[in-house]
């Protein structure tokens, strides 16, 4: 089924929240998933796999212990939403180069680095295994890869400044058809954010009038 980008973002945000993210991070998940879909990647499908994998794992175990040297998670594998958000927060530092240790679904770092490029006005490259993604400050995007773009894990990721001429592509073939199973998975996570209906809340919570047949 095909979904609008706004639907993809809203569902992704709710799903991330349902999977345990704080709201601010869930908002990042929504925006990042939307960016992936907008640029032709399998955003919702990747998010569904990531949330399923990390369901129930505490934030502290998925986030970088230290962001001064190589970034590593205490349990061994970084969550790309948390690491990507932190990369973007440190946008000005990325030009000099930041190395991440083992990271899940590294494609999810791309939207954050794309935003960091815009914020810092610097062209950046993100690379792991045989994949290289270049993003410029004006939205340019180039991808070269021989490996699996949707890899579920990689040993290391490097983010550093690059020559803007390397990222002149646009790569804007939206991918708005979403795998039904992945969408259902996100829906199940999102459902955790909805309060069960009670008669009391049905009557009082919305505050409508008693009759609309007037």
């Amino acid at each position: 089924m095909t979904y609008s980008l706004n639907e993809i973002e809203a569902m992704s945000k709710r799903a991330a929240r349902g999977a345990g993210s704080d709201w601010g991070l869930a908002e990042e998940a929504g925006k990042a998933t939307r960016w992936l879909s907008e640029h032709g990647f399998a955003g919702p499908e990747t998010l569904a796999a990531l949330l399923t994998q990390n369901d129930g794992r505490p934030y502290a175990s998925l986030s970088p212990i230290d962001v001064n040297d190589v970034w590593n998670a205490s349990t061994g594998t970084l969550c790309p939403l948390i690491a990507g958000t932190a990369l973007c927060d440190l946008a000005a530092r990325l030009d000099a180069g930041v190395t991440l240790g083992q990271t899940s679904y590294p494609i999810f770092l791309a939207p954050f680095v794309a935003t960091a490029a815009k914020v810092s006005g610097t062209a950046l490259t993100l690379s792991w295994d045989n994949t290289e993604i270049c993003v410029s400050s004006d939205g340019g995007l180039n991808i070269s890869h021989s490996g699996d773009l949707a890899a579920s894990v990689t040993k290391a990721v490097l983010c550093k400044g690059t020559d803007p001429s390397k990222c002149t592509g646009s790569h804007k073939n939206r991918k708005q058809d979403v795998d039904a199973k992945a969408w259902a998975t996100l829906g199940a996570f999102a459902h955790r954010t909805y309060a069960p209906a009670t008669e009391e809340s049905r009557l009082a919570g919305a505050g409508a009038g008693l009759s609309d047949n007037d």
Binding site: L5, E7, E27, P64, V67, A91, A195, G205, A206, D214
Partner: protein
């Protein structure tokens, strides 16, 4: 930014601490910058044309119709489906599953295949799917008593009772108008580059404008079907008194909190307009005459405004008293010289209720289209550019920002139950937004992030344990629970009217204040709260119908004074 030479040193903008209080947001009125007014101004200026290529509705009122609106570059079509709804299914709430009529605004002119596809989806609303060819999805329910009365009157060959029309004000009320990619419709980003859709909510407003024409046609059609020999059309003066109602619940309140930049841009445009008018040194005879002609029409508009809700009854009484005072005052006041509108505003601030002050703000703008209408171009927002957090900001600066925006919230005793009495949540029943009692219902774990004041205070408490020259990036990495409020605070540095300056989870919070603010920006009138969290309003009351637009006056939102309502 000065528009004319006839301005003194510009009057200061009113501060957010005054403007963004819920009591004031809940007292504002439509103005020249309201979205319905922006839309009709553009369509009139550009000579838009309107047609009704399809009207296939049977004598029971079941079928479909298509209404087209054509501008300089494109045509849009309202596709309307009329249904036979049993009374027991008529509900204005999100949890309803059937309606008297359902609609979509189509981008272009629909083919027969499009109509078939839409007929299988639009009547289902949230349970159906539309495509990127559709720009909005909406539905409406009849005002049962007025609809019946109008049809039986017209069928019998006479005009409906004017008083009854006045007291209800609409034949149908919409209960949701979805845009921006909802249910599979086109994302706003796909159409926001079109000049006709740069201002906010223009496709939704166009959809409602055409819906009003359809509803009147439907009533006249049903009257003619009932009694072809005797039926008459509705008198043009009377039909203009009919708007489209809207029944709205809590969904709109979260919108204002969830779109802080948009809220800022709406309010900032209106405040800039006010400051420009207050800066006018000398008013011309024409400008004074326009203001003075509109004042009694505004009085009439308030006289036409009915509500049974105790809060609104009280506010209306105060507003009526305000208008008496104002009417007397302007007969003596010098409206010509020495920055007359500034003086009038300052007088109002001393002498009128908040409702009265804000009505005057709207009225003062009316003669000054040349000075302020351009501000309509500043009311949309690209929210993506403000999303990233500035991680390099120092915690000292974050603390200062928090004090600037939420200093007032530090005076609240957040340990008291009253300060946190409410929680906003979404029900699993059709995702209806609700407001519950935190200490009486098991809802806290489902709470939506709609209490920025409390969140700011929680953040400030943790901030106190950090070194001040540390960075925001380091803080939010260890405190992801504060990321949401940090983002809000950082953007409010650039967008001063982004944050509501009241506690949105207080035991005494009135969600209708938030609804009123948003609806007034839409251009709605006649706010009629049904409870503290539900309001009915009127849209396009007194507006021209599509075929009348070219000949209409731009101040249509104030009723004309005729024999019937002078």
């Amino acid at each position: 930014m000065e528009k004319a030479e006839n301005t003194r040193e510009k009057a200061a903008l009113r501060p957010p601490s005054q403007v963004m209080r819920l009591s004031r947001m809940g007292s504002i009125h439509q103005c020249r910058l309201s979205f319905m007014r922006i839309l009709l101004r553009r369509m009139k200026r550009e000579n838009w044309t309107f047609e009704r290529p399809v009207f296939e509705i049977n004598a029971k009122g079941v079928g479909h119709a298509v209404y087209t609106a054509t501008g300089p570059q494109r045509t849009y079509s309202l596709v309307a489906f009329a249904h036979d709804l049993p009374p027991e299914m008529r509900s204005d709430r999100v949890i309803a599953t059937a309606w008297d009529a359902t609609f979509t605004l189509f981008d272009g002119v629909p083919t027969a295949e499009d109509i078939i596809r839409l007929s299988r989806n639009v009547p289902l609303q949230e349970a159906g799917r539309v495509s990127s060819k559709e720009l909005s999805v909406s539905r409406a329910n009849r005002s049962v008593r007025l609809f019946k009365h109008v049809i039986s009157s017209l069928a019998a060959g006479h005009q409906p009772d004017a008083e009854m029309i006045e007291s209800v004000g609409y034949l149908m009320r919409t209960t949701a108008v979805y845009g921006s990619g909802k249910l599979g419709a086109a994302d706003r980003e796909m159409i926001c580059g079109r000049p006709e859709f740069t201002a906010p909510f223009q496709c939704e407003m166009l959809s409602v404008f055409l819906t009003r024409a359809f509803v009147l046609d439907l009533a006249e059609h049903l009257a003619a079907a009932r009694s072809p020999e005797t039926a008459v059309k509705m008198d043009p003066a009377l039909r203009r008194r009919l708007g489209i109602g809207n029944s709205t619940g809590l969904g709109m309140a979260p919108f204002l909190v969830n779109h802080p930049v948009l809220l800022n841009n709406w309010v900032a445009a209106r405040e800039e307009a006010l400051a420009r008018v207050r800066s006018v040194v000398t008013a011309s005879g024409d400008e004074i005459a326009r203001f003075q002609a509109l004042l009694p029409r505004a009085v009439q508009n308030v006289a036409d405004w009915h509500s049974e809700h105790p809060i609104q009854i009280e506010k209306l009484a105060a507003l009526k008293a305000d208008l008496k005072l104002l009417t007397t005052h302007v007969t003596k006041a010098n409206l010509k010289e020495n920055a007359p509108w500034n003086q009038l505003y300052l007088w109002a601030a001393e002498n009128l209720s908040t409702e009265g002050q804000e009505l005057l703000v709207s009225l003062m703008m009316e003669p000054y289209g040349d000075l302020i209408d351009e501000l309509a171009d500043c009311m949309s927002a690209d929210e993506t550019t403000v999303f990233p957090i500035n991680g390099a900001m120092s915690l000292a600066d974050l603390g200062t920002l928090c004090d600037d925006v939420y200093g007032w919230a530090k005076k609240i005793d957040w340990q008291s139950h009253a300060a946190q009495a409410r929680a906003w949540y979404v029900s699993e029943e059709k995702l209806e937004p609700r407001l519950g009692e935190r200490f009486e219902e098991p809802i806290t774990e489902y709470e939506q992030p709609l209490s920025p004041a409390r969140d700011a205070i929680r953040m400030a408490e943790d901030l106190d344990t950090w070194v001040r020259d540390d960075t925001v990036a380091a803080f939010v990495l260890r405190h992801p629970e504060h990321r949401h409020i940090v983002r809000r605070l950082q953007l409010s540095e650039r967008f001063p009217y982004a944050e509501i300056r009241d506690n949105t989870i207080d035991a005494d919070v009135l969600p209708i204040d938030m609804l009123r603010c948003k609806l007034a920006f839409f251009g709605a009138t006649h706010f009629d709260p049904r409870s503290d969290r539900w309001v009915r309003i009127n849209m396009y009351r007194n507006a021209p119908y599509p075929e009348e637009l070219a000949m209409s006056a731009e101040d249509w939102s104030y009723p004309t004074l005729s024999e019937g309502n002078a």
